[in-house]
């Protein structure tokens, strides 16, 4: 089938998830074509998207698209899907993808798979359900389909060569009813849902002043930082760091949790992480049952030692 991939720009550059999306699209398309669509002005040469499997790259580069509006972007993607004769639209199940996917599905009368975690078997797409407590399949009954892919679901593969970028002019660019007044970027560069490594702290860290221990380790690993619900509820850490059933669900390659006991609601948000390391003073903490590696010890002593060990490991590798 022909697949249209929406490539989201973050600070003027294709997001990290783009390579994964194009790899997925190439596998999904079979004998069909893969077209990448970029909305907005890019600071990077987009022709490199071809090396991950885009056979055609379309770009709409007008100043109206500087600010994100799910309704406007969704309408343009629906038109592009029609224009390219696509049967599937693929995008990332992240902040912007969650705003766009439903608009495309509604405008284009397509079945929607929200949060696919892998390639389908026939029309059945794997997803997570009950906030990670279960797995399920979404069987798509329509011919047209919108797939929002959970970040870090499949490894990306270089398979293709660079392709010329075509400027595409849609029939109209709908006026946005959203006016952006100000933008505040977080200091960390890695958005939590996309991070491959995450270091997370809980109440066991005793206070926000001790978060340096988490941040030092995260910095050494190139990881994002996260926290448990009580920690964000009492305001030690910002809300957007809360992972768990009522926070955000993540699936990094490596999740290191310090001072988190592992309540069922927390586990739901992190249990599909590939490798889980738990550091806790209480050997009976439920989190150890969900962990691959456990350290029974005081986070205040273990975290600096682990940071040192990583530092040493990196020096040896270099």
């Amino acid at each position: 089938m022909n697949v249209l991939v929406y490539i989201d720009l973050q600070n003027g550059r294709p997001r990290k998830s783009s390579a994964e999306l194009l790899t997925y699209a190439q596998k999904l398309s079979g004998a069909g074509s893969v077209t990448a669509l970029v909305l907005g002005h890019s600071l990077e040469d987009l022709s490199a998207l071809g090396s991950f499997g885009a056979q055609r790259i379309l770009q709409v580069s007008t100043p109206e698209l500087t600010h994100f509006d799910g309704l406007v972007f969704g309408q343009l993607i629906s038109e592009a899907a029609q224009f390219t004769g696509s049967q599937a639209v693929l995008l990332s199940f992240d902040h912007s993808g969650k705003a766009i996917a439903p608009v495309v599905a509604a405008k284009w009368s397509a079945g929607l798979v929200a949060g696919a975690t892998g390639l389908p078997q026939g029309t059945r797409y794997p997803v997570k359900a009950f906030s990670g407590k279960a797995l399920a399949k979404v069987n798509v009954l329509t011919e047209k389909i919108v797939v929002a892919l959970t970040p870090n679901s499949i490894p990306s593969e270089k398979n293709g060569s660079s392709v010329a970028v075509e400027s595409w002019i849609p029939s109209e660019i709908p006026a946005s009813k959203i006016k952006v007044l100000s933008v505040n970027k977080n200091t960390t560069d890695i958005p939590l849902p996309e991070a491959e490594k995450v270091v997370s702290g809980g109440r066991g860290l005793k206070g926000p002043e001790n978060w340096g221990l988490i941040e030092d380790l995260a910095k050494e690993l190139g990881a994002a930082t996260a926290c448990s619900r009580p920690v964000s509820d009492i305001g030690w850490r910002p809300h957007h760091e809360h992972v768990g059933q009522t926070g955000i669900t993540i699936r990094p390659n490596l999740y290191i949790a310090a001072g988190i006991s592992g309540a069922i609601q927390h586990l739901a948000g992190v249990n599909s992480s590939k490798t889980i390391v738990v550091i806790n003073t209480d050997a009976e903490a439920p989190f150890f049952k969900a962990a691959d590696y456990g350290v029974v010890g005081d986070a205040f002593e273990v975290l600096p030692k682990l940071t040192q060990a990583i530092k040493k490991f990196k020096a040896d590798q270099a």
Binding site: Q10, H67, D69, G70, L71, G74, D94, H95, K98, A99, I100, P102, V103, A105, A106, G111, L112, V113, A114, A129, F130, S131, K133, L135, A136, K137, V138, V140, L141, I178, V180, L181, S182, V183, N184, N186, K197, H239, H240, Q245, T246, N253, L254, S272, K274, V277, F288, K289, A291, D292, Y293, G294, V295, E301, K305, L306, Q308, A309, K312, F313
Partner: protein, 274 residues
């Protein structure tokens, strides 16, 4: 002369106050979409066909972000305006009336239940959109996602069907004179935005604090109306199948807290995580 001036000033003052009050106070008419969800502590199990949750012994709650953030912020805005109405709508069967009563006990004024057991986000949105269309709602709030299917797309589908702007993941919301300002999470930061006219937004943590219903609220909820609306015809676009539980992890390897080099070695050579 002096007297006249005083009188005139007084008039100006009164007019000013009245004008101010009028400009500040507006009638809020807010729709909040709620869904039922299994309590967060539920141990999930499925029926023998593996296509639905085994509801035996499950405690049902109002989906947390619908209740804690969307509904409570709607109530706060209505209270600040001094007048208006917070309406809730759910798509569900008579079994769901208990969670609708809970939302009424928190403070919603009236409730509508579209009488259909929903099978997907699309089925929910395609029922609510035609029902809401043409009604004088200033805006619609949903929770950021339900904790059972985690699709986070009902709000977006609804907005697309209504052709209203959709703003997911709002952490702050203020409405004055039909001008809404809000902060939205953009993944790695926040944006302050303004929307004129009706919109759909999904509520996330930070928008409001959970309210525990008091006895008065619970008593009042008993007599508040729940209007049952018959569903529109609908053809399914997707179906959920093959529910399974994730594989249990093997035994956890316990590492000596004084030997973090060993942990790093295992993360590198065994787990391939470094």
């Amino acid at each position: 002369m002096q007297k006249y001036r005083l009188k005139r000033d007084l008039c100006t003052f009164v007019l000013h106050v009245l004008g101010h009050a009028k400009s500040k106070k507006s009638v809020m008419n807010i729709l909040v979409c709620i869904a039922k969800a299994p309590d967060t502590t539920t141990k999930i199990k499925f029926n023998s066909e593996g296509n639905a949750l085994d509801g035996n012994g499950v405690t049902w709650i109002v989906n947390p972000s619908d209740e804690w953030y969307a509904l409570v912020r709607a109530l706060e805005l209505k209270e600040a305006a001094g007048q208006g109405k917070v309406t809730i709508v759910t798509v569900g069967t008579a079994d769901d009336d208990s969670i609708v009563r809970k939302a009424l006990a928190v403070g919603a004024d009236e409730a509508f239940r579209i009488n259909l057991s929903p099978e997907s986000a699309a089925s929910v949105a395609e029922q609510i959109a035609p029902w809401a269309k043409g009604q004088p709602f200033d805006f619609i709030l949903t929770g950021k996602e339900t904790i059972d299917f985690n699709g986070s797309v009902v709000g977006g589908l609804l907005a697309a069907h209504l052709d209203w702007p959709y703003i997911p993941l709002i952490e702050k919301l203020n409405v004055e004179n039909g001008r809404a300002t809000m902060f939205r999470d953009i993944g790695g930061g926040t944006e302050e935005i303004e929307v004129n006219g009706p919109f759909v937004a999904s509520a996330t943590k930070g928008l409001a604090e959970q309210r525990i219903p008091n006895m008065r609220g619970i008593m009042a909820a008993r007599t508040k109306p729940i209007t049952v609306v018959e569903p529109q015809s609908y053809s399914a676009k997707i179906e959920y199948l093959e529910f399974t539980l994730p594989q249990e992890k093997g035994a956890c390897k316990i590492i000596d807290p004084n030997n973090m080099d060993e942990l790093v070695r295992l993360l590198h050579s065994e787990a391939k995580a470094l």
